[in-house]
Symmetry: C2
Subunit: 176 residues, 2 copies
Amino acid sequence: MISIMINWLRSLPHQQSTYEQGRHLFRRDDPVQNMFLIESGAVQLIRAHRGGGALVLQRASAGSILAEASLFTTSYHCDAITTELVRATLIARRALRKLFLSNPEFAQAWAIHLSGEVRNARRRAEILSLRTVAERLDAWIAEHGRLPDKGGWRGVALEIGASPEALYREIARRRK
Amino acid sequence: MISIMINWLRSLPHQQSTYEQGRHLFRRDDPVQNMFLIESGAVQLIRAHRGGGALVLQRASAGSILAEASLFTTSYHCDAITTELVRATLIARRALRKLFLSNPEFAQAWAIHLSGEVRNARRRAEILSLRTVAERLDAWIAEHGRLPDKGGWRGVALEIGASPEALYREIARRRK
DNA sequence: GAAGGAGCATGATATCTATCATGATCAACT
DNA sequence: AGTTGATCATGATAGATATCATGCTCCTTC
């Protein structure tokens, strides 16, 4: 499903860029020139608050489109900082916007993409609101069918808001 | 911003319905006939799993549009059950879909609405992944500017994944 | 104004998990 | 074979919070 979106994006003029770890892809209040498709690496969207606090709004990794909302705004509303080396495809916002307004088929694909993101984010929030690691793992498995392969457990732990150790223990408990 | 969306919806043929607590607005695999705008009350979107488990995917209350993704699918992918008495506005999916495909302005309004929902859900997920009630409350306040009025604290506790008592204590701690 | 209910407040306790620590396994590379 | 690094594994401990319990303050309703 996401590949449909990606095909649309690649059909437009685009360029590749790489960013070292810790660099900004964009800053708050910057005018929106480009949309970003993350090819590899990871990016955090961060909103900094007076008082030193900062809230992570989104963690984007390979395959993610960054800051979808910026397609319809003139400036960014948060900072995008790479947490790893990032390779990204940049598409001019104007071109994408023009495509959206002139091509109902693309508009529909974009809306379907956004709907999927809404569902994923809401599901993740509901999983995170469960109280124990056991419950959160149950919910994760219910959605994904089974435990992830070894090698991906740490990622799952991050996703369900548990420490890796807590997840290892829960999985070990179920083996017995 | 949501009011823009609501005005669009009200410009289409629609009907009002009320549902008692515990009733289904729709069931999984039902053909999508209507989109629902919740006027009052609350609805849970639930996906039931073999094995008795059930995962809440979304809690919708007054002002929410239900199951936005269903605009582009032919059947629902989950159950919608009222947790309170609900008053809802129903809009024919076909009419809304036709409007989306024929009117770029509405398509843009719909996409902006979805983008906002994505941001909200992602922000909530990130808040829920914070470890302590103090941190989660900080993040909530950072986004909303200040503590909610008394009377709404229980709702905030639910939103940030804490028990009401834990939130009371954290607020009391800050008064000292 | 008496009664009932919802939300706020706070104490006590058990439970869960983050964290620190240490070690095992495995793969990639030299 | 040895080194290195990532992930998995498991023990011990302290800290945070859910839960149960009890009481208070409003506000609404009769």
